[in-house]
């Protein structure tokens, strides 16, 4: 038996907003959250049961954030001049959340990205992450630590590039 949808909104709107902000960035965070709610609303009546609705909703939200990111990557950006290689934006206040590091999270493989988002944007323990994305707890740890390892490498590369510029 599924509860009225507004109960999900009341219970999890902060989590959805925060996860979308982390995973889609400040420019697209709100749009991503709206897409997430619409997608969830569309699919909701076809759920077979009301177990782990939070996990389901956050998965929908993560996917909405990722899809938006892909759409933007595909969309050509009109530009008068050939783009210069500019600073990565890391640490620029008002440009990217969390000190810019979430822009690098956006480049992680999808499952690692979602796991890192749930772990650090929503502070979920691995047991909950595991339930949300449907993997074992060990796999959740592995996804997060793989993600962090890649982040470290990406961070070093970006910082070196910034130094060169």
């Amino acid at each position: 038996m599924l509860p009225p949808f507004y109960e999900l909104v009341d219970a999890y709107w902060r989590d959805v907003a925060r996860l979308c902000l982390a995973m889609a960035g400040p420019d697209d965070g709100e749009d991503a959250a709206q897409r997430a709610w619409l997608n969830a609303l569309r699919a909701y009546p076809s759920l077979k049961h009301g177990r782990n609705l939070k996990g389901w909703l956050l998965t929908v939200a993560a996917r909405a954030a990722i899809d938006g990111h892909r759409d933007r990557a595909r969309r050509p950006v009109p530009m008068a001049d050939p783009p210069e290689r500019t600073s990565s934006g890391l640490g620029e206040p008002g440009v990217l959340p969390g000190d810019g590091i979430w822009a690098l999270v956006a480049e992680l493989p999808e499952r690692e990205r979602v796991a890192v988002g749930l772990r650090y944007a929503l502070d979920q323990p691995h047991a909950e992450i595991a339930a949300t994305i449907g993997v074992s707890e060990a796999m959740s740890r592995r996804l997060v630590s793989d993600g962090l390892a890649k982040l470290r490498i990406a961070l070093r590369e970006t910082e070196e590039k910034d130094k060169d510029d």
Binding site: Y6, V9, W13, L21, P45, G98, V116, L148
Partner: protein, 219 residues
């Protein structure tokens, strides 16, 4: 970034400690940016309505007979209830669709009619009614109430006779008791054979108030 190296499964704290500085930066995620720092849940009713995904709109309205929970589908007002909002919403989620959202704007027309009614300026509701929550017999009984005008009353027995089942006064009483659209579908206009006000979902006092409002002297 895509090459995978084998990584032992670590316990939580270890994962966080190996990359402690990274983790600190990830946790710095700024909550104060637009949208993320909002104080209230997002109002999805507009968005859902435009996408055709608002199956049931719900809201509460305060009236002289207490708080009434209003709900509407595309077909009309499906609920006007003295019960608790969450209880009404759960029932609607199961019986109609779980896409139940708070949507005050969608309910404005019927809210306005209720305001007018309680101000004594409206004697007949025009908002369409959706009796899906009523059983078949109940629906027949409630539909028959259309013939009991503002300021008049009838009895359970008379209503039963009107439906061609003169001995079914008790069943009629049950059907009225299950009225999902109180006030608007005027089950309060049905009284006991001796003129006494018997049971009412909103309490006998509410029934008395409604009938007095309509100009009936009742005991």
């Amino acid at each position: 970034m895509t090459d995978r190296k084998p990584m032992p499964a670590l316990i939580d704290d270890d994962v966080d400690q190996v990359d402690a500085d990274l983790v600190v930066r990830l946790r710095l995620l700024d909550d104060t940016r637009p949208g993320a720092g909002a104080e209230t849940p997002p109002d999805l009713s507009e968005l859902a309505s435009r996408a055709g995904l608002l199956d049931v709109a719900i809201d509460a309205v305060d009236t002289p007979v207490g708080r009434l929970v209003l709900a509407a589908t595309e077909a009309g007002v499906i609920s006007c209830s003295y019960r608790d909002q969450d209880e009404v919403a759960s029932r609607l989620a199961t019986a109609v669709s779980p896409r139940v959202l708070r949507a005050p704007a969608r309910l404005d027309p019927v809210r306005r009619e209720l305001d007018e009614y309680f101000a004594g300026r409206l004697t007949r509701f025009t908002a369409p009614v959706d009796l899906r929550l009523a059983s078949e017999f109940s629906r027949r009984v409630l539909t028959a109430l259309g013939g009991i005008g503002y300021g008049t009353t009838t009895t359970y027995g008379a209503l039963a006779s009107r439906l061609g089942r003169p001995s079914a006064a008790r069943a009629v009483g049950h059907a009225l008791g299950a009225n999902p659209v109180c006030v608007i579908v005027p089950c309060h206009r049905v009284v006991g054979a001796d003129g006494r006000l018997t049971g009412y979902a909103g309490g006998v006092e509410a029934k008395q108030l409604l009938l007095s409002l309509e100009g009936r002297q009742v005991s």
